[in-house]
Symmetry: C2
Subunit: 426 residues, 2 copies
């Protein structure tokens, strides 16, 4: 499955996918029982293989970049691999090897009055389909997390990164071989055919979970077309609410970090909500802090009444994830109003309140439905590494199975083992 062609019709795509999925299912059955040392060895050998293959990976990547001359500078930057990015990939694999094995954990255990002992045990989901674009390193990161959590994975990167992903895959396969694990545990789409993606999305029963990583267009297409369960990773339209009882210096420090630490991550704050009671004194300071770092603004009328130089927000701005140095600003009247704004415009991702008033913080946290709510900390903490998960395959914004950062534990499901002594049910 290494031919790189773009001429496969749709039916062939379905056949190719089903073949891959069946091989993945068989590999998953084996992986589910693989001892931790074998999985860790595969990861470390893959890391070594990545390092050894650096020239070949760079050459493949150069061919990819050359073959896509019309890319924006930002896209080209995401597509490009360098020796240090390859080293980071290898280190990432080794870090996952250091993480505890999530498979087989006892999640709950209890004994019934009739003596039955019931255990709920973590087990891998099975076969995961990873659909991503632009960053080739996602192939290694995702493969590592799937492997460590006992899942088989089928990787499908963007057409621009086909050669790079194939080269990375070769290193993963080498690691699996060295560790005596089935090579079908990590597979790549054989070509750039969009029909293969369609086949993945329709493969209910063959693929257990689809994880999309990329821009809004990709995620939307996946979520609309998929018959397979999808780990929804929608927009990060995050809010930081500066409450009337906020400590001003904390508000300045936290908001600056929440917006400007990195503007392109999903946990970046897109909208500042600020209480009318504190806005006259504090808003000008917040604006000045951010302006000094190059941030632009989209402000409602009440904010512009305090800071007239702020550009006016248009109708759709409060529902826009800028992923850039642009901050929406709205003045609100208290916690309930902040919650209402978030429920109307947010994406249930991550929201923060800055306040010294514990009751207000409780009311805020209780009133939002988002995956993550913070009191007196930056929204940029919505990250698997910051949570202590060690690594993350994405942030889930849907409501089922997993919410927030998705790490090894979230790539598992569970089952029950019941130990009896011959009990029968009345």
């Amino acid at each position: 499955m290494n031919a790189i062609t773009d001429t496969t019709p749709a039916l062939d795509a379905i056949v190719l996918l089903e073949t891959a999925a069946r091989a993945a299912r068989a590999a998953a059955a084996e992986l589910a029982r693989a001892p931790r040392p074998a999985k860790d060895r595969a990861l470390r050998e893959a890391a070594a293989a990545l390092r050894r293959a650096t020239p070949a990976i760079l050459a493949a990547n150069a061919a990819d970049v050359l073959g896509a001359p019309d890319l924006s500078p930002a896209f080209k930057d995401r597509l490009t691999l360098t020796p240090s990015r390859i080293e980071a990939m290898a280190k990432g694999l080794e870090e996952v090897a250091e993480l505890p094995d999530p498979v087989g954990r006892t999640l709950a255990e209890w004994t019934r009055p009739n003596g039955l002992r019931i255990r709920r045990i973590a087990q891998p989901l099975g076969v995961i389909g990873m659909i991503f674009e632009s960053r080739p390193n996602v192939a290694a990161d995702a493969a590592a997390l799937c492997l460590k959590s006992g899942n088989a994975v089928i990787l499908r990167g963007g057409r621009e990164s086909l050669r790079s992903v194939a080269a990375i895959h070769a290193a993963m396969a080498a690691g699996l071989r060295e560790a005596g694990l089935p090579e079908a545990a990590v597979q790549v789409a054989p070509n750039a055919d969009r029909a293969f993606v369609g086949a993945m999305l329709g493969a209910a029963g063959l693929i257990d979970l689809i994880i999309p990583r990329g821009g809004k267009g990709l995620v939307t297409r996946v979520m609309e077309e998929a018959r397979v369960p999808v780990l929804a990773h929608a927009e990060g339209l995050c809010h930081t609410y500066v409450h009337a009882a906020a400590e001003p210096e904390m508000a300045r420090r936290v908001l600056t970090n929440a917006k400007m630490r990195r503007t392109g991550v999903c946990g970046a704050t897109e909208t500042l909500l600020i209480d009318a009671a504190i806005a006259p004194s504090l808003l000008p300071l917040l604006v000045a802090d951010l302006k000094a770092l190059g941030c632009d603004f989209r402000a409602d009328d009440r904010a512009r009444a305090i800071c007239p130089a702020l550009p006016a927000a248009s109708a759709g701005d409060f529902g826009t994830e800028w992923l850039d140095a642009i901050l929406n600003v709205a003045v609100v009247d208290g916690v309930a109003a902040a919650i209402a704004h978030i429920r109307r415009h947010g994406s249930e991702h991550t929201e923060a309140i800055i306040t010294e008033d514990a009751a207000a913080a409780e009311e805020f946290l209780a009133g939002i439905a988002s995956a993550v709510g913070l009191w007196n900390a930056s929204t940029q903490f919505c990250d698997g590494g910051e949570f202590g998960f060690g690594a993350e395959i994405g942030i889930a914004t849907g409501r089922l199975h997993a919410r927030g950062p998705v790490g090894l534990e979230q790539l598992c499901t569970y089952r029950y083992h019941i130990l009896g002594t011959g009990q029968v049910r009345p």
Copy 2:
């Protein structure tokens, strides 16, 4: 939304559903924060309302039964309500009121090196769509579990039970009113229009989870058409494996219960797998036990070599969920063969091994992927009540979110609350 008509075209169905779903979403936001006493009061008042309305419910049910003259006796039995079945419904509501509130439980709690305190907290899924057929009491049972777990529910029963379900819904609504909870927390489909079901299945973003309860046709249609996540409740093609080291009297007792306690439940054993080493002495006894209770058989050649009177199994029999007094029988050679048979023919529901050999039991339990694995106990224990969940909305056989019996806790998702003191991310 109480008109019982069957002339609504598809577009109207979508509009009706979206109106209901939005009202449900608003109700769910309120329910998520409702204190336990309010929810319990709604349940108890609904139970009282059910009892008071017994004559009206019986009259509605009689009209339903009269309006469907071509039903099989079994279907008619499932459709029919009696005073004792209504009393059981009311008792069921009161039992759910006794259960602990799953909302707001702290599922995990930890502190990061930077001092951030992270809590994972259970919260309701939101809006649940319950699509069921034949048994009107499902309306009350499901509504009770959804309400107690803070979820709003839209109920759509079969066309044959339209009046019965409407009458039951009226009692639920009375309970909600008495407790000061929003009536939109429990809604019913306004008519028997199949397009309303289609609208529910397509309502991604409006409905958070669809739960189908009914025959294979219904569940299959739901799982094929739904864009909303579905709590898969596929077949219960359960196996009991009598290992060579089984204690014979235990095997006889447990198998009899696993097959014949109730043949129509999803946890009923459909296939007996028996080791060749013990079959000659034990299989005739097992067959005699079951035959005496009226059970029929479909046996492979190796079983028929031991018990020639057994009818021969046809090609598809080992993949058939009989839900009747018919047992498939196959002779196997050891644990690996039993696992292979289960993986080929089973539905990942519930499997049991009878043995005194702990190593064989471990190998069996580790080798199957089913939601429930039992050692020395009856497969009929796959039930929310038997697990200690108090009640159950169904058995999940998919791999995501929930597996096995689905009770109050499984109708919840989670979110994170993070308590800081002004931390920013480096």
